[in-house]
Amino acid sequence: MTDAFTPALLARFDVLRDQYPPEMRTSLVLPLLHCVQDANGYVTEADAARIADYIGMPAIQVVEALTWYTMFDREPQGRYVIKVCRNIACSLRGSEDVLAHLQQKLDIGIGETTADGRFTLKTVECLASCGTAPAMQVNRTYHEQLDATKLDQILESLT
């Protein structure tokens, strides 16, 4: 098994650490969790413990953050993680249709990953795209003013 904490990742840790005043050492928890997730796709409890060692704080506090914040994944996800907003403004503009279309096209339910590992389908709360609803996010990228045609084009472009 290869070490998830590559020298490049640890160098990135140092850059982030140097941005904060010394008394703000524990502020590194979220930046470092993001850093590991961006590099590896997900964060394990063992990763959290190593982040805690790097910062010099109890592992439980990093594990708490890992499990409390919704953006961190603790297991591998599909290559493309589709996050459909289903809050009020998107609901009023058709997010239920967006979700139904994606579930039918991908043949998976909410929270599931396609058999080929290409797509994971999730729902999220407000993405601040209310003026351009309905909206979803694929990995980091926002897609807005969605309809069936646009959804099909987006899915086709993600290989």
Partner: protein, 426 residues
């Protein structure tokens, strides 16, 4: 584009850059203030403008700054970019189109408060807003506008971008502070307020993006011209977002006191598909809903909105057309609040989940009159019994939806189906 403070330039692929911001006069007021004004004078000018927080609570910005001790060895500033109140998409516009305006505002606040390290706490989902903010910060650092000895003034201030990780409650200022300390985003009991004991127990000011990005205009044009804009008691302009069932959803900069009906019917093109207006949630998802007849004569300022029984909140106007099922719509909100309750206070953790389970049952056609009675009673056990306002935010829609559309709820539990076709989208 129309609006003095924000929407005063044409948006192009480069209009967010440092060079174009400077060409529009950006950072000139900062350079002058750093040369000619004391920190106290900057704070006094912000206070005299009457600027109030744009995050939703509407607290006087200058007063918040004044609460910070002048003797404190370390003071922190946090810009709250955890924009997440459903219906709200204004802070994102500022970051995407005018990020330097925010940085200049953060520097003004930092100078007034003698801040050496300021933090931009940005919600983790944001993509383009984050890239634009980081790009602007890199430009500003290279130009000597952020960092050591800013513009040769002797004043030094670093701005650190800190990403959140998906938690609505972190938009609450003490929750944001805990999150920035690497903890779960649990809100803190107040007092002490952050201005007294905040980030790492240091005096800390947390201000919204729109609030801080307004400061450069006030410093460039003066407090009195700003105080003269809009409604007398709550002056200025605001970025109002109109979403839901309107023909042209979008963001509009308007003076406070602007008529709500005009915003919906004129600026946002009226109700989608020529349908009749059913209701409006005027200030973000937690503000009490208004029926169509109740918005007549209402203007977008706290005085008028308060009389109508609601709040301007974050300036997020959500429009609902005739024929929409209010029971199902409320369940969308209840699901959200149940999901976002942080888990710290029992009334909120249990209450939001309970309200959501009842609404799920009603929407599934399995609700009873007793369920509806329980749902009506639950908010009284939550409101005022929690550390932060999330419990109240979750309760207010339940109270106002049932009060104003009680017949739809009664019909749903009596017949096991919606009075309407049940669809939320047109």
């Amino acid at each position: 584009m129309s609006g003095p403070v924000f929407m005063n330039f044409p948006i192009t692929t480069t209009s967010h850059s440092l060079s174009e911001y400077r060409a529009r006069g950006g950072y000139a007021a900062l350079a002058q203030a750093l040369r000619e004004m004391t920190p106290a004078q900057v704070g006094a000018q912000a206070k005299a403008s009457g600027l109030q927080g744009r995050g939703g609570a509407g607290f006087q910005t200058g007063l918040k700054w004044e609460f910070v001790s002048k003797e404190a060895p370390v003071v922190y500033l946090c810009c709250n970019i955890d924009e997440g109140e459903p219906g709200t998409f204004k802070d994102r516009w500022i970051l995407e189109h005018s990020p330097h305006q925010l940085l200049e505002g953060m520097l003004f606040a930092s100078y007034a408060l003698r801040v050496r390290h300021a933090f931009a706490y940005i919600r983790g989902e944001f993509d383009l807003p984050l890239r634009r903010l980081e790009g602007a910060l890199a430009e500003a650092r290279a130009a000597g506008i952020v960092g050591e000895n800013i513009l040769g003034s002797g004043f030094s201030c670093d701005i650190v971008v800190h990403r959140g990780a998906g938690a609505y409650v972190c938009g609450e200022e003490s929750s944001l502070i805990n999150s920035l300390e690497g903890k779960k985003g649990f809100p803190r009991n107040k007092p002490p307020f952050p201005a007294v004991r905040g980030l790492y127990q240091r005096p800390t000011v947390v201000n919204n993006v729109e609030t801080l990005a307004t400061v450069p205009w006030i410093m460039a044009n003066g407090a009195a011209p700003y105080a003269a804009l809009g409604a007398r008691k709550t002056p200025g302009t605001r970025l109002f977002g109109v979403s839901g069932h309107v023909a042209s959803p979008g963001l509009f900069e308007k003076p406070t006191g602007y008529p709500l009906a005009q915003l919906i019917y004129q600026d946002a093109g009226g109700v989608l598909g020529g349908r009749k207006l059913k209701a409006v949630i005027p200030g973000g998802s937690s503000t009490p809903i208004l029926k169509a007849a109740e918005i007549e004569g209402v203007t977008l300022d706290q005085e008028s909105m308060g009389k109508a029984g609601s709040m301007v909140g974050s300036g997020a106007v959500i429009v609902i057309a005739e024929g929409t099922c209010m029971v199902r719509l409320l369940q969308v909100l209840s699901r959200f609040y149940a999901h976002e309750s942080c888990g710290q206070c029992t009334p909120c953790r249990e209450g939001t989940d309970w309200m959501n389970r009842i609404l799920e049952r009603i929407v599934a056609g399995k609700g009873s009159a007793a369920d509806l009675a329980t749902l009506t009673r639950l908010p009284t056990g939550i409101m005022g019994n929690t550390v932060c306002a999330l419990g109240d935010a979750a309760s207010m829609p339940v109270v106002s939806f049932i009060k104003k559309f009680g017949d739809e709820f009664a019909y749903y539990v009596a017949h096991g189906r919606s009075l309407h076709d049940g669809r939320l989208a047109p």
